[in-house]
C-alpha cells in the first residue's frame, strides 16, 4: 500500500519562537532524519487542514501522508476507532483531530499562559466544532428532499447564529477568537473554512467582516502564506 500513498514533506521556515527556529535548523543540518511527526489523513483539507496549518505556522517538519479514498477501506481496519486523522510521533500514534490541534497549539506556542486561558481557547474551539457537527449532520443526510430542507434551515438559522456570535467574539478580542491575541483557536477556525465554504459559500462567510479579516490575517502569516 505504501507505494500508492502520495507523501509530501513540509519544511517551512521557522518564524517566531527561538525553540522553533532551533528545531528548523536541526532539520536543515540533518535533512535525512525522518520527520519527527507524521500526519495520516485523506488527500483533502477536511479534519487534517487545521493540523497542517499548525505545523506550517510553527515551521515544524512533518510527513504529510495523503490517503486516497480507494485505499481507505483497507487502512480503516488498522486504525484505533476507524477514523482519520492519525498523528504519529516517537513510535506512538493517536487519533482525534481537535486533540491533535491542541497538542500542536502548545508545541508552536499558540496556547494559553495558564489553565484558565487554555479553557477560554478550548471553549471557542469546541463551539466551532459544534457548528461543524451541525453541518456534518446535514451533509450526511441521504434523503435528498430532506437534506435540502435541512440545509435551508441551517443556512437560515444555525449558520447565522454561530457566525454572528463568533464574529462578535473576534470584534471583542482585538481581532482574534480568544484572549485578545493569536491562539491555536484562530488557526483551527481557518483550517475549517474549506468545509464551511463548501457548505455555506464563501460569500456567506465574507459578510461577517471580523471573521473575514481574521481569515485574511491568518492566510498572510509567514509559514502559512502560499
Amino acid at each position: 500500500m505504501q507505494r500508492q500513498l502520495f507523501v509530501r514533506f513540509h519544511s517551512v521556515a521557522a518564524i517566531n519562537a527561538p525553540t522553533l527556529a532551533k528545531r528548523h535548523l536541526l532539520s536543515k543540518f540533518f535533512p535525512k532524519m525522518a520527520p519527527p511527526y507524521k500526519l495520516i489523513y485523506f488527500d483533502k483539507p477536511g479534519r487534517g487542514e487545521p493540523i497542517r496549518l499548525l505545523f506550517k505556522y510553527g515551521g515544524v517538519v512533518f510527513e504529510d501522508v495523503l490517503i486516497k479514498r480507494e485505499d481507505w477501506a483497507q487502512l480503516k481496519q488498522k486504525t484505533p476507532f476507524g477514523q482519520l486523522p492519525l498523528l504519529e510521533h516517537n513510535g506512538k500514534r493517536v487519533n482525534q483531530s481537535v486533540s491533535i490541534c491542541r497538542y500542536l497549539g502548545k508545541l508552536v506556542k499558540l496556547a494559553g499562559k495558564d489553565d484558565w486561558e487554555d479553557l477560554e481557547i478550548d471553549a471557542v474551539v469546541d463551539t466551532i466544532t459544534d457548528l461543524r457537527a451541525k453541518i456534518t449532520i446535514v451533509r450526511l443526510e441521504k434523503n435528498v428532499a430532506l437534506k435540502k430542507t435541512m440545509k435551508e434551515e441551517a443556512l437560515k438559522e444555525t449558520v447565522p447564529f454561530y457566525l454572528s456570535r463568533l464574529d462578535a467574539l473576534v470584534q471583542k478580542n482585538n481581532g482574534f477568537l480568544a484572549l485578545g491575541r493569536l491562539t491555536w483557536a484562530d488557526l483551527y477556525f481557518v483550517g475549517k473554512i474549506p468545509i464551511f465554504s463548501e457548505f455555506m459559500g464563501e460569500d456567506t462567510i465574507a459578510k461577517y467582516t471580523n471573521l473575514k479579516a481574521l481569515i485574511d490575517k491568518i492566510h498572510a502569516l509567514p509559514g502559512i502564506k502560499k
Copy 2:
C-alpha cells in the same frame, strides 16, 4: 428568577494532593466565603455530571446552580451560545462542558505529566464524545418510526463498536482509559454513564467487564462515593 433556582453547595472532603487539602482547609476556615466556582446547569446529570464528579473528586467547593426546564427559555438568551453548562470563576464565565472538564482535570491533578500525555487523555475523551454525539442524533430524531430504526442500528453497530474498543483500552491501560492510571478521562466517562444507560440500558454496559469494573472503581472513590 434567582429564587426559583435550587442551589446546592458541595464541600466534600479533600482526598489526595496536598494543594487540594489546603484549598479544602481554606473553605473550612472561611465557610462564609462564596465558593470560588459556580456551575450552572439543568437539574439533571446530562453534560453537568462529569463536571460535578470532578469537583467532588477534588473536594473543590462549588455552587451547583440547578436550572429548571421551565426557566431555561429566559436564561438561554443570556448565555454566550444558547447552551449550558456554564462555569463561573473570578468573575469570568465560560461554556463548553468538555473544555470545563479538562480545566478541572488539571485543577484536581488528574491531567497528564506532559503535553503528549494530555493528548492521549484528550483523544479518548473526544472518542467518548463521538459516541455521545452519535447517540444524541438518535435521541433528537422526531420521526418515531425512523428513530426506532436508528436506535436498533445504533445498538447493533455503533454502541458495540465503541464500547468494545473502549473496553479493550481499559484492559490495556491497567484498568483505566488512558496512561495506565486514573485520569480525568475516567471521571468524564463515568459522568456520561447516566446518558449512556438511558439509551442502551445498564445491562448493555455491564457486558463490557473492564468498563464495568472501571465504573465501579470510580463510584467507590472517596469524594464520589455516595
